[in-house]
């Protein structure tokens, strides 16, 4: 008797629907075991992680604040992954976007610049992220260099560049030598949506991005081309689609969205540019993209869920002294389960009995 994997005749729609839920369920079981190993009560730890953040207005707003950049980056990444190109350097594009937008905030700091500053910052950030993402894309299209490795290497470069700026030319002279820019002026910060709350305009922008992506993928020829190039490259060639152009396009869009997310984070909850302001959104967004099944609405839900784990992780650290790294482990395990469960959409397990195998062999 042998357990083997075989391809389904057609994709299973039932599994496609329930697989993220199965994956989340399996992750929660695994996490309970991990909590028990760490000597914490699994039930109360899970409560702190997943239930408590949903019970007060502050945490709910905080989830939306954290979900906004995750969703925006993941939407961009999903376009790349659908086209079967691998931008894994979103973290770098996120940082460069933040830098590009912050430049204007630093330049206009203390002047009486008008309300045009913030929109201009957003534009600069999107342009900066897109240009930075085009580096690996051009290396791939022109020279055939692996975009996976080049895009990732540029994350480290972006990180060091940001570090240089805030320790050098952009450091706040009144900042007691801390590596940070001055606090952004009100015209350079994201407007708050709820008086006295944390929710800011970024959440709305993220929703607009989701809607735009849904239209692009579902209603336009470009969206169709992106999906065909990824799913059936041969058919795309016969169809005359320019796959190089699509590599550049998807990278530019995802870079722009990551850059936009970067400035939204800096001009929103953070309020100034400093090293290490990102808790690794560019990498977590990869999980969001897959958990959301590369679908705009799915990504919105997945982004909210992963934002919940960030808040839950912080609260668990405060309330139960659970290390923050548990959140990263959680996210990694979740991605594994998501990928594994998704495999069952296309494949299924079958028990093979030796006698049948012989029969088949002679047939």
């Amino acid at each position: 008797m042998q357990l083997v994997l075989e391809k389904r005749a057609e994709r299973s729609n039932i599994i496609a629907l329930v697989s993220p839920l199965i994956a989340i369920g399996l992750t929660i079981v695994t996490m309970s075991i991990l909590f028990a190993i760490l000597g914490k009560n699994p039930i109360s730890a899970l409560g702190v992680y997943f239930i408590d953040p949903l019970t007060d207005s502050y945490s709910l707003q905080e989830i939306a604040v954290k979900a906004a950049p995750l969703v925006m980056i993941a939407i961009g990444l999903s376009l790349c992954y659908l086209a079967n190109v691998w931008n894994i350097g979103a973290e770098g594009q996120f940082l460069i976007g933040a830098v590009a937008g912050s430049w204007l905030a630093v330049e206009t700091h203390g002047t009486d610049a008008g309300p045009w500053v913030l929109p201009a910052m957003l534009l600069l950030a999107a342009a900066g992220g897109a240009l930075y993402a085009l580096i690996p894309a051009i290396c791939r299209v022109r020279f055939g260099a692996s975009e996976i490795l080049t895009s990732l290497m540029l994350v480290y470069v972006a990180d060091l560049f940001l570090d240089y700026l805030v320790r050098g030319p952009w450091r706040d002279p009144a900042g007691f030598n801390f590596p940070t820019t001055a606090e952004f002026d009100p015209v350079a910060t994201m407007p708050i949506l709820i008086q006295g709350g944390r929710l800011h305009l970024g959440a709305i922008i993220a929703l607009v991005v989701v809607a735009a992506a849904a239209v692009l993928l579902g209603r336009t020829i470009k969206g169709f081309e992106i999906r065909v190039v990824g799913a059936a490259p041969r058919a795309a060639r016969f169809g005359g689609f320019n796959s190089n152009q699509l590599v550049l396009l998807t990278f530019a869009i995802s870079g722009a969205l990551a850059g936009l997310a970067g400035i939204i984070e800096v001009a929103g909850p953070v309020g100034h540019l400093q090293p290490g302001f990102s808790p690794g959104y560019g990498f977590t967004a990869i999980i969001v993209a897959f958990l959301g099944r590369l679908n705009p609405v799915g990504i919105l839900i997945a982004g909210l869920f992963l934002a919940l784990t960030f808040i839950g992780g912080e609260q668990a650290q405060i309330a139960m002294k659970i290390p923050l790294d548990v959140t990263k482990v959680f996210q990694g395990i979740l991605l594994f389960y998501v990928l594994a469960c998704d495999s069952l959409i296309l494949y299924r397990f079958r028990l093979i009995f030796p006698s049948r195998q012989v029969h088949r062999g002679t047939a």
């Binding site: 020279f143 260099a145 490795l149 290497m153 480290y156 240089y164 790294d325 959680f330």
Partner: protein
């Protein structure tokens, strides 16, 4: 002269983790599997290697712990990509994300602790030869091991039947399967070998390079190792050249920082990463006559019966 000797010694030390991890990945990729989780396996290898050495007081135990950790993680990867036919790129990314979290969790208890670094070879007479003595006969065991490993892998790939079969599985899994070779089992062993090497390469960092553990201490070396395999055109010999070149870039930028040439230190620190990008572009561009990558690299294989 002494400065030159010191520089060469530190270049060898900086190159060894890259060479170890890249050698393992080369075998994995030659079997047709692209494991992007090298960084994750290295960082967990570093945490477990340090933990093992700190608890036992022995470098060897530490190295074994690193190898075991890397192998275990690679088994998860194998289960996913070979057992469940999941996309290798996505799984490799998941492995790295998981590895970074796990290493933080495992290493949390060891941060701030110190261990005795791995002993260096000392042969009276030989090691004392000026200039070349310490470089040739005064390294730690890992440096020699990494070079032996490259030679071993070269012999295996090009001088044994098993190596030929492994390369066949990587170039055309359908044909290899049709000839009756167990493609998935071959790949399983190749992935495990890659994991063991990555774990050892990671463990080298806290065991010999710096005698303590810091979270994130691999600092992208796993990714550079992946780039090295491309740089080497999947050939073990060129891997040695590539690894030592990268080690040299890392060390030279450190020395340049010490001399403070007026260039911000961050720009110097970015050099190894920029060098990787530039080298990848140059290598890929030079290859006009088709790719030298294993033909089936990164593709899913589900045997039909």
């Amino acid at each position: 002269m002494e400065l030159l000797e010191a520089i060469i010694l530190s270049v060898l030390a900086a190159s060894t983790p890259l060479l170890l991890a890249a050698t393992g990945e080369l075998v994995t990729e030659r079997s047709g599997v692209l494991n992007l989780g090298v960084e994750g396996m290295m960082i967990v290898g570093a945490a477990c290697g340090f933990g093992g050495a700190w608890l036992s007081g022995s470098t060897t135990v530490g190295a074994i712990c690193g190898i075991a950790a890397g192998t275990l993680l690679s088994l998860i990867f194998a289960l996913m990509t070979l057992g469940l036919a999941v996309n290798q790129v996505a799984t490799g990314l998941a492995l790295t994300i998981l590895g970074v979290g796990l290493s933080g969790l495992i290493g949390a208890g060891f941060v701030g602790e110190r261990i005795t670094p791995a002993p260096h070879l000392h042969i009276p007479g030989l090691t004392d030869i000026p200039l070349v003595g310490r470089i040739l006969f005064g390294e730690d065991a890992f440096v020699y091991l990494s070079l032996a490993l490259v030679i071993g892998v070269w012999l295996f790939l090009y001088r044994t039947r098993a190596g030929l079969v492994l390369r066949a599985a990587g170039d055309n899994h359908v044909s290899a399967h049709a000839l009756g070779y167990p493609v998935l089992r071959i790949r399983l062993f190749a992935v495990m070998f890659g994991g063991a090497c990555a774990g050892l390469g990671g463990a080298y960092l806290p065991l010999a390079y710096t005698p303590f553990f810091i979270p994130g201490m691999t600092a992208g070396r796993g990714w550079i190792a992946l780039a090295l395999v491309v740089f080497a055109s999947w050939r073990p010999g060129r891997l040695v050249i590539g690894a030592y070149l990268f080690g040299a870039v890392t060390i030279l930028q450190l020395h340049a920082q010490a001399f403070s040439l007026g260039i911000p230190s961050q720009f110097m620190s970015a050099l190894p990463y920029l060098a990787t990008v530039i080298v990848l572009v140059l290598i890929s561009r030079a290859r006009t006559g088709g790719s030298t990558a294993p033909a089936a690299l990164g593709t899913v294989f589900v045997p039909d019966r």
